[in-house]
């Protein structure tokens, strides 16, 4: 088994102006997805991220306010899961709730450093 990170990009709820009802529905879908992964014993961790951001860049450590990209490119959170291979994670990512809102799941394998 290897570890992977699913990075959730786009579908910023604030930007989209979802109603309380819609927010609740969305939350329910995330809840169900998380529960499913947990029951399968593959979920290792994950967080949701606040959308306000600061960026530090360049030799002068220039600080700028986010959002530094278009809102559809903002990272909203991540999950780490353990799976056989990339294809298995692609399968897991089918249940990501926000594709219809323009969201994207980027899957990256977590590098293991040899001792």
């Amino acid at each position: 088994m290897k570890d992977f990170m699913m990075i959730f990009i786009g579908a910023d709820y604030q930007e989209l102006g979802l109603s309380p009802e819609e927010l609740q529905t969305r939350m329910g879908k995330w809840f169900a997805w998380g529960g499913k992964m947990e029951a399968a014993g593959i979920l290792k961790g994950g967080e949701a991220l606040v959308s306000e951001a600061k960026c530090v860049s360049g030799p002068n450590r220039t600080v700028t306010d986010g959002p530094y990209t278009e809102s559809k490119e903002i990272i909203g959170g991540y999950y780490t899961v353990s799976a056989k291979d990339m294809d298995a994670v692609v399968e897991i990512a089918q249940d990501f709730p926000d594709y219809d809102l323009g969201g994207t799941v980027e899957i990256r394998e977590i590098m293991v450093f040899d001792r």
Binding site: S19, P20, E21, E22, L23, Q24, R26, F31, G34
Partner: protein, 417 residues
């Protein structure tokens, strides 16, 4: 652990509660800031509850709203200095009291009555009510009322502007104006329900939500003893009766099914019982309302085991009373339809001829459908076919179109035989 399904419409309902309470604290002029703040609370909850729903979700939200309110207060620097020290000290007692159940209800009532303020334009009242009391987004209101989203935004903005410019206060009307306002509140609830119940749109969920909200609001008004009236009970009964048929009104393919063809075993009995109870309560009050007769008619239909067993004579009397109280082209048309069912053709055509089909707007096809029925009853088949063709040229709903087409071919068979 709390399951997600148990939350029901928690966010939507809690939204209305919180906006109402905070408006009571900070004043109506700050409603836009308040709505944004409450929206933020839900945004937050929707992210935080992904992993785990708190043990007592409602308490979590209330606490978040309270904190949000304190933040707000610092930001707004309101003149309400008496509640400046909200988290501790003597004013915190008054502040916390506002979050008690009956005070929350009181705040919500204030919001409903504010939404129906005569200074607001009628069409703005409905949009404003759906937004602030029921937590619908602009997009949801647009889809529920068959409007453009930009139109809804305009209406909401105009309502907020009027509130500020006319300095409306967040209070329940007193004395003379009260009865008028309550009347309008009933009317707005009735309209919200009708949008959900009668519109021909496909989006079943949003329609169901509209009906549900209307019932919730009309129930909320009956909770307060001094607000109970015959009209209020009759309205609640009417909404229950209609809502009991909601599921049977839509086919699996999303088509609308008329009363005659509905599966009566699908009618939701507990709602019918609730409605009957309310209707009998309304009879204890001296005033009669159009809601009363409408509810009584609905009850007659619900009591008939089959369409053929419908007691048209009773329904006729009820329609006559309704028409006496409040004659509209729709009540007249319904009266004529009942007369046709009873084969009272002369009386029926007299009423039909008094209606201008244009006044029926998108439902004018029903006028021609009824006229066809009249001609068929007195054996004027070519005229009946003409009328069906008129109806067919106007009807949008596919199910009803099919109904008229079948009727037409039946008449053609009759003509050739």
């Amino acid at each position: 652990m709390i399951k997600e399904q148990e939350l029901d419409h928690l966010f939507r309902h809690q939204y209305g509660k919180m906006v109402s309470i905070l408006t009571r604290i900070f004043g109506l002029s700050h409603i836009e800031t308040i709505e944004d703040a409450v929206q933020d609370t839900f945004l937050n909850a929707s992210l935080k509850w992904r992993k785990e729903i708190p043990e007592n979700p409602e308490a979590w939200l209330t606490k978040a709203a309270k904190n949000r309110a304190i933040d707000l207060l610092r930001k707004i620097k309101t003149e309400h200095s008496r509640i400046l020290n909200l988290s501790t000290g003597p004013s915190s007692i008054a502040f916390n009291q506002l979050f008690l159940e009956h005070e929350i209800e009181d705040s919500q009532l204030r919001m409903i009555f504010t939404a129906c303020h005569p200074k607001l334009k009628p069409q703005d009242q409905i949009a404003f009510a759906l937004k602030t009391i029921a937590g619908f987004s602009g997009k949801e209101i647009a889809s529920a009322l068959l409007l453009k989203e930009s139109t809804v935004k305009k209406r909401l903005a105009r309502a907020r502007k009027t509130i500020k410019e006319k300095n409306l206060v967040f209070q329940l009307p007193k004395d003379k104006t009260f009865a008028d306002r309550l009347h309008r509140v009933h009317e707005v609830i009735y309209l919200i329900f009708n949008e959900g119940f009668h519109s021909n749109q496909k989006e079943f969920l949003i329609r169901k939500d509209l009906c549900g909200e209307a019932i919730r609001l009309s129930k909320l008004i009956l909770k307060k003893e001094s607000y109970r009236t015959g009209s209020g009970y009759a309205l609640f009964a009417l909404l229950c009766f209609h809502a009991s048929r909601l599921e049977s009104k839509i086919s699996e393919k999303g088509k609308i099914i008329d009363l005659k063809n509905q599966n009566r075993t699908l009618w939701f009995k507990p709602l019918i019982q609730l409605g009957k109870h309310a209707l009998s309560k309304s009879e204890a009050y001296p005033e009669v309302s159009s809601y009363y007769f409408e509810a009584a008619i609905a009850q007659e239909h619900l009591d008939a085991k089959t369409f053929e067993e419908t007691d048209w004579k009773k329904i006729l009397v009820l329609y006559q009373n309704l028409n006496l109280l409040q004659e509209t082209p729709f009540t007249s048309l319904n009266l004529a339809i009942v007369l046709l069912q009873l084969n009272e053709n002369k009386k029926a055509i007299k009423i039909l001829n008094s209606i201008n089909p244009k006044d029926l707007e998108q439902r004018s096809y029903l006028y021609y459908g009824s006229k066809a029925e009249y001609h068929k009853n007195i054996n004027e088949i070519p005229e009946a076919i003409n009328c069906i063709e008129m109806a067919l040229s106007m009807v949008n709903n596919a199910f009803e179109k099919k109904y008229f087409e079948e009727k037409k071919s039946m008449l053609k068979n009759k003509q050739s035989s």
